[in-house]
Amino acid sequence: MAKPTEYVKHIESYVDSSSSPSQQAASVDALAILLKNDLLTLEALVRELDLYLTTTDSIIRSRGTLLLGELLTQLELKPLSDAAIHSLIGFLTERLEDWRALRGALVGCLALLRRKTDVGVVTENDAEAVMKSYMQYLQVQSMGQHDRKLCFELLECLLERYPNAVQPLGNELFYSICEGIDEEKDPQCLILAFHIVEVAAKLFPDPSGPFTSYAADIFEILGRYFPIHFTHPKSEDIGVSRDELSRALLLMQLIFCVFQLAFAATPLFEPFAIPLLLDKLSSSLPSAKVESFKYLGYCAPMYGSDRMAKHGGALWSSVKDVLYTSPQSALSVESESDGGMIFEESDIMVEALILLEGLIQQNSDLLLDMILGDEDINNFICSFPKPWDIHDTPLQLRQQLHSVGRLLAVSAKSSMASCNRVFEKFFPQMMEALGCSVGNHSDESFATEDRALSSRFNYVKGLQLLATFPRSFAPVSLLLFENILLKLVSAITSNFDKKFSWGLELKALVEIGLYIEGYQESEKAATFARIVVDKFVSWISSDEPAMPLSLKMQAICETGMTGISNMLRIVQGMEKAISAKFTQAYVDGNFESVELVIKVLECYSARVLPWFEMNGGSEEVAWNLAAIIWDKIDNSSSVNLTVQNYELLGAAMTAMKQAVRRCSQESQEKIVNRAFRVLSASTLFPLKDSPFATSLSNSEDSYLNHHVDRVSCRDEWIISLYASVVIALRPQTHVQNLKMVLQLFIMALTKGHIPSAQALGSLVNKLPSKTNERHLSQEYGVEEAIDVILTSSIWNFCQSNTLRKCSLFGGGNEIHNTKCLAGLNHTSVHISAIVGLAWIGKGLIMRGHEGIKDITMTFLGVLLENTNNGDFPESCDPIEGKEQEVIPLMKSAADAFHILLSDSEDCLNRNYHSVIRPLYKQRFYNSVMPLLLSSTRQSNSIITRSMLFRSFAHVISETPLSAMISEANKLIPLLLDSLSTLTEDVMHKDVIYNVILVLSAILMDKNGQVAVLENAQAIINQLIGLAAYPHMMVIRETAIQCLVAMSELPYARIYPSRTKVLQAISKALDDPKRAVRQEAVRCRQAWASIASRSLHF
């Protein structure tokens, strides 16, 4: 037990009004700890306090009472005996009378009343005593804010926790509530006050109870607060912190909520609330209107439909007033294009519509009677100009139209019955307004050509809607459905010259098709297929209707895409068409057939095959297409070569690739074997007799010479298509007679047949690398294939030994080489060979095969040795003829780097199942760059240097920036060097463009900033030169853009160049191209403003 001296000290310190608040708080805490730990009993304390609680000195008395109250608050969780609680609450109840010591009594009562049941609670009798004492003595509105709050809390606590104790008090209770909350202004007290009203109202739900007589009074007090409007102080006006402001806003929201709850707490408020709200609706303050609608919407379900029914008329007229009589909606921004019918509704309208929806759901008959019976609305719809054009309608009318539309939509939405009623009433009139009467069929007007576009749009939309009505709801008979489809089909047939409406009609058909597919309506699906799909399919090969072929194909494809069965029908039709027309197109070059077949094939590769892939169709379609083409090629003997024929070949190759790549391994093998049979039967094979033509390498040269110009058109078709097949194969697919195929491709590529080169590249890319991985029957792995390819004599013109190092036939072809180089005719062959080699190299580089090293060295060899060995020393002794011959060769070797690294659409990408090693570009960049650099340094011929830089440019423009940026400080000087070298010759202009794009990418990259800063002067000088590059506009434009970027660099670094740049730019202002001039204006502005705003320099 604590000694009295210990705690008396604390008591004295608390009661002493001269001690500081923190000291007081500390003494309360200290006493509370003593009490909690049972070192001090409550009785002992109260006895000790006795003097303080009863003294006539009101200040000390109030402090004493407050100490008791505070301690009780702290002891809320400490179990106390019933007797103790009873005596304490009794004492405190009495003290409520003593207004000087009131606060302590309030705090104490509240603490006792709030106790949980397991630690001892106040009995109901005591609570009733508290309530009575409260009603008798407390004049709430005459107290300070904090005391008011305590009073409200006390009242709230009594109402919530002791309903049985307060219920008998009835009228007196409400009198005291009214008295208490009247004129309350403090927000925190208001929250409590509103809550008290709500709780009290809930407590006395009986319409004949005491609440009824006070409802009017209470509502009068409540109604004064409506609408709650919060003018919060602006934070910049006074020193209100963000926190305080947000707390204030939060408080405000709380008030809103509590107020709304109180407002709708009991239906008994209805006679007062609804008139008040309706009255507020006529106010001119928009926020008051919005609030009123919100409250009406909230109260309506609370007050119940019977009570609300009385106000139906008034409610409807106010809603109508807002929506119809003076609609406040603004044209939305995007609505211009849509005929100006999209509106943004004001908040008031939105709330009004929400209210209307709620009311209709509550009492649909009453409201609908009023809406549908409303004369204004009826007149509005009836008086609509017919036929009307949206663009001629004045804005206000359009607003009204929009509102009425929303109104009817809301009415119709609430239930099936109301939907029916709205439609019965207004549908005929609306259809009339649209220009078609319901009684008589809409067909006639539909066919009229000179209809305004908008009305046509409406018809189409309407037909589409009718056709897609779910069967369970709408009785659209099959016959009618058929009619609709027929109508649309005939419209599409006759209407192709009107692009917009044609598109609409087609879209409507597609939507109908999709809908049928989605809802699995089999009858309709059959009808759709019969009327639409079959009709369209029949168009493919007939001249009817006289529609452009591209539109026909569009219609066919889009309707096909509605579902798998439709697509299959269409595919059948297209297959038939190809079978029928292909020979004609391919053999005779019949113009129409060629066009048709091209379109169909394009359709296959662009739409049909991707669609099947997306929608999980079988590979059968792809397989069939490939098979048909090979059959047709096989069965025809000769081809007539025309320009269109080349186009046809292109389309056929694309389609073939697209088809083959989607086939499985087995199907691919079948196709490739079939193709090989055709190939081996062609005149391309003089070696038919010796399938493993070992003699080829020796006889090749002469063979090539003889065959270069002799390949027939049919053979070109065959080999191109075969190459397409090979390009698209999967890595696992086995190719028969690989060696022959390889040699055939090599032969073809020397004639500049790119697809063959690509096919070779694809082969070396996909062949298995190790013998043990290989399929048993596979004759070749990649090593052997490379051997076969590289030992072929066509590469021998390059005198570098690199290729021959790996050659099985090392060193045997010296004589050939000289011969090759000597003949002028061979230049083109050599260029083709280099291009071919580049594609092969691309295949290798992508899989990360080291054979690429040899190939790279070959290219470098071509670049270097033609000038560096004594044969063509054009730097000192330019021989015109030789130079003419050598430059294209070197250029093609330089461009080979572009082929090596660039991504190709035609082959060697993911679509065609290529083997792609990650980061292969970066690896190649790292390995080839030192070679290129050292060669550049060593070479002293201008041409060689420029060609080396051309290769360099290709490499850097195809390598990802992230791989290069870390070495930007080394790269930038090279870039600038290459730019200055390449600008010497017009032929490099496209490469310059690529380089400058790399440069601009470095300028924009954060990681490149340091390097850019170091080289700022040099970069600027180079860019100034390029800003006047005469041969290509985009180079000038990009150079100037780069200069703009340079102006962002630190001032000290770029200022020295400012004058130079501005002078150069003032020339660019006179550029013949507008784009350049515009960039120049920007650039000048940017550079001028680094020193001052004026442009003087």
Binding site: M1033, S1066, L1069, D1070, R1077, R1084, A1088, R1093, S1094, L1095
Partner: protein, 155 residues
């Protein structure tokens, strides 16, 4: 001393959409045309109001003529009110902007539209006199006003 605004309530017009020129035509005739000039000057801010000359309808594409062969540009602008003392400032702004954005060989004539200004002749004379323009731009206050109009970001 605070002077009232010369035109306190100007009529503000909507900005027009910028016409996107077709991009991919390498052989397009890219000669300087009125639209190009208009695109450059339309965003100059009015000296009095935070609106552009376009918004105040001081300028339009039709009020600009250009002859590339002779190297001449003629801009006719319409001050918002007859007694607008800002007309010369607007003219100065136009001249400065064109000097910045077009090569020096263009001769620029700037005039107020006939009948749109009380002192038409005087204003025209002032705007097309090299000496007076140079002198005006040496006045630091005028210079600052012009610079603000040209490079203002208020719009």
């Amino acid at each position: 001393m605070t002077l009232g605004l010369i035109n306190a309530n100007p009529v503000v017009h909507a900005k027009k959409e910028r016409v996107a020129r077709p991009l991919d035509d390498p052989h397009a005739d890219d000669a300087v045309d009125p639209l190009e000039i208009y695109d450059i000057v339309r965003d100059i801010r009015d000296p009095e109001h935070p609106y552009s000359l376009e918004q105040l309808s001081v300028l339009s594409e039709e009020s600009i003529t250009v002859d590339e062969k002779l190297g001449r540009i003629l801009i006719t602008f319409t001050p918002t009110i007859q007694h607008c003392s800002m007309a010369t400032v607007i003219g100065l702004c136009l001249r400065e902007k064109l000097k910045d954005c077009f090569p020096a060989h263009f001769k620029v004539d700037i005039k107020v539209a006939p009948g749109s200004h009380a002192d038409e002749e005087a204003v025209n004379k002032q705007l097309n006199d090299k000496e007076r323009v140079a002198a005006a731009l040496e006045n630091p206050n005028l210079r600052q006003l012009v610079t603000e109009c040209l490079y203002s970001s208020e719009l």
